[in-house]
Amino acid sequence: MTPTAAWLLLVEDEEPARRLLRAYLARRGYRVDEAASAREAMRAWDAHRPDLVLLDLGLPDLDGVEVIRRIRRDAATPIIVLSARGEERDKIAGLDAGADDYLSKPFSVGELEARIHAVLRRLGGPEVGPDGWLRLGPIELDPTRRSVAVAGNPVHFSPREYELLKVLLANQGRLVTRERLLRAVWGLEYADAREYLHVYVGRLRHKLSEAGVGPAIDEMIATETGIGYRVAVSKAAEPAEAPTAG
């Protein structure tokens, strides 16, 4: 990979906010395309296929969720939703439509950059190693033998716990909604049974922590209250195109 700056598409209808964010991100070394409406966003997407999309959900012409669906039809390009809507259902709608992460307005520019960085790191580094193993810090998951080890020492998990961990490790750098996890691990009919998830994630964290990961596990699999879980990106997978400050 060539060390070029990541190409961002900033979709925001508020003119002053867009101008400021664009200026800041450009100074941080990203290439930034701007769009003030869903229609402009689609045009920019078709023209440049940016590396990452920053999307405000409240657009004048079309709901931002439609833009996410449209992008997801073409590619798995990371999407970070920015929205002033306080309602959790809006965040969940965006994430369920395929967005990778979410930032509520008002956010600090530093926070935004950290999220961009995390999502791009996942893009740069392999989720699945050449051996097919999934890794997060000292945690290693071997899908062929259905085994998990922490720092080389095997840890026993029930089949459900194993499935849950696998889905979480496969979604590093993402905010995964509870509904998506429930669907993936328990199947469609359990999509509303949220209490399962709390219990299982709790057990997972406890076992991994005991096995040597320690309290850091709460940051590796962090709870996003009311929405789901944010999975950290393995430190081993540094992105090749980390932008340089300009």
Partner: protein, 534 residues
């Protein structure tokens, strides 16, 4: 006179009540007629006594059993006196004639009775039909009306007609003395005090009956002229009120048919009251739901509209704080200007919210004074963040001063201008127009954007109203700006309206009262301060 008694009530009204004199005259004429007939045909017909049966039959059919029996006996005596030898005495010579006469009497009585019964049945059938019709007329009212207020007068009018009551009224309340009268067939007249009245008892296991009773302190003496009847209006054992009827004391107590109609009317009124209650509960629930959804709409909008400028401010401040970036002086100036403009916008939102609560609480106290509308318009335009759009002010210097609160008008114009900047076209113009005939001045803010659908124009000033777009989740504003505009304008004695602008966009027109100017001003225009900045 039992037969007469039977014919009272409904039947009495249908056939009319006959006096004893009328009946006696009828019997006499019937007997005289038949006697003449008997005398005429006696020469040819050997036994003419049965001709008298015709008279008995006629009287029985017309007047009932008793007159028929009287006629029978009279015919018996008459025939004996006139035609049985020895004539002109009541003496009877032959025992055969005795038998003959007694047979005539017996047959006459039976025929008379049968004729009377026949008529009675027919009358009863007619009564039933009439009662059924009355009941139908009363029960049908509920289906064709929506409220008790609508149904009660119709029920009462039909009831009074069907039961020949002088007056009928309907009151709601837990006791006869505390009722609120809902409807009354006699308007304007004072209602009789309940005092003595007859109340209908409807025990579940026994037939309904009337019981004389007294309530309250007033009217302990019985009215000499009229009797008041009361039927309790109850639904599922709960007393709701009373149905009252009144008629002359000379009249009889309500008979069974009338009682049935009264009871049915009371039940119908009870159902109407319950229906009203249910409708009211449903409305209340609806209002509650609506206000809940308004509350959540307000929270949603406040959250969105405050976060949006806040996000821009944080982005600006955060960028400036990043020491790793060497911002140029121009960049910094722009960031600070943005922070300033967005903070101003937030301030306006907060003020709108406060104004809204003042408008709703009726706590607006405008300080009215004569002001130059053009000056206020130019100041408002100077303060707004135009986001690159052209805003012109076209207020003629001859425009008379307006009687307004300058803070309110400033807020009105700021809201209208911000709306135009956010949702309107690229060119915005503030215009002033004199309406001397109405003693008013119009200020309008117009843009050349897409405008709003005609259907939406009327709703623009509703709280939380958002112009519908292709997608209802599109960019949202708080939807209170125009509500505040209307509230502030009304507080100053003005009006607002929305219309299509000359350039196809939206125009919001605020009509304000012109300030009274001294007559001299007609010759010499009021000096109007004009600011150079536009």
């Amino acid at each position: 006179m039992a037969a007469f008694a039977e014919s009272r009530g409904l039947v009495g009204r249908v056939f009319g009540r006959r006096s004893a004199t009328t009946v006696a005259a009828a019997i006499l004429s019937a007997l005289a007629g038949t006697t003449l007939a008997v005398a005429a045909i006696r020469a040819v017909v050997p036994d003419v006594a049965p001709v008298y049966l015709l008279a008995v039959l006629a009287v029985g059919m017309l007047y009932g059993t008793l007159p028929a029996v009287v006629t029978s006996v009279a015919a018996f005596l008459l025939y004996d006196f006139l035609f049985v030898p020895p004539v002109y005495t009541f003496t009877i010579a032959s025992p055969d004639e005795w038998l003959n006469l007694l047979l005539l009497l017996a047959v006459a009585v039976v025929i008379g009775r049968l004729a009377a019964l026949q008529t009675q049945r027919a009358q009863e059938a007619a009564d039933r039909a009439l009662e059924a019709e009355s009941l139908y007329g009363i029960t049908g009212v509920l289906a064709s009306t929506r409220t008790v207020g609508e149904a009660a007068p119709i029920v009462l009018a039909r009831l009074a007609a069907a039961t020949a009551m002088d007056r009928a009224w309907f009151g709601l309340g837990l006791s006869p003395t505390e009722e609120r009268i809902v409807a009354d067939t006699a308007t304007g007249e004072a209602l009789p005090m309940p005092g003595w009245h007859v109340v209908l008892q409807r025990p579940p296991d026994r037939p309904a009956h009337w019981v004389r009773t007294h309530v309250g302190r007033a009217g302990l003496r019985r009215s000499a002229k009229a009797v008041v009847h009361r039927v309790r209006v109850e639904v599922a054992g709960e007393l709701l009120g009373s149905l009252w009827v009144m008629r002359a004391r000379a009249e009889h107590e309500p008979d069974r048919a009338e009682t049935r109609i009264l009871a049915a009317a009371a039940d119908q009124l009870g159902q109407a009251v319950v229906r009203d209650r249910l409708a009211e509960e449903a409305t209340n629930a609806e209002i509650l739901r609506e206000s809940e959804s308004l509350k959540s709409a307000l929270l949603d909008s406040v959250s969105h509209d405050l976060r949006t400028p806040l996000a821009t401010i944080r982005a600006a401040a955060g960028s400036m704080l990043d020491r790793s970036i060497g911002w140029s002086e121009e960049d910094q100036l722009e960031a600070f200007q943005t922070i300033d403009a967005e903070a101003e916008r937030m301030g306006r939102l907060v003020r709108n919210l406060l104004d809204l609560s003042r408008i709703e609480g009726g706590a607006l106290r405008p300080e009215l004074a004569a002001h130059d509308a053009g000056e206020i318009a130019r100041q408002a335009v100077a303060r707004i963040h135009a986001e690159g759009k052209a805003i012109g002010v076209d207020v003629p210097p001859t425009l008379p001063p307006v009687l307004i609160d300058d803070v309110y008008l400033g807020q009105i114009l700021a809201n209208l201008l911000e709306n135009a900047v956010r949702y309107g076209g690229s060119t915005i113009v503030v215009q002033g127009r004199d309406l001397p005939d109405e003693g008013a001045v119009e200020l309008s803010v117009a843009d050349d954007g897409d405008g709003v659908p005609v259907r939406a124009l009327a709703h623009l000033f509703d709280k939380f109203y958002q112009v519908p777009r292709t997608d209802d989740l599109s960019r949202r504003g708080m939807g209170i700006g125009l509500t505040v505009v209307a509230g502030l304008a009304h507080a100053m004695g003005g009006t607002v309206r929305a219309e299509r602008s000359a350039t196809g966009g939206l125009a919001v027109v605020v009509q304000l009262r012109a300030a009274d100017v001294p007559p001299a001003s007609q010759a010499e225009p009021v000096p109007v301060p004009v600011e150079a900045s536009r």
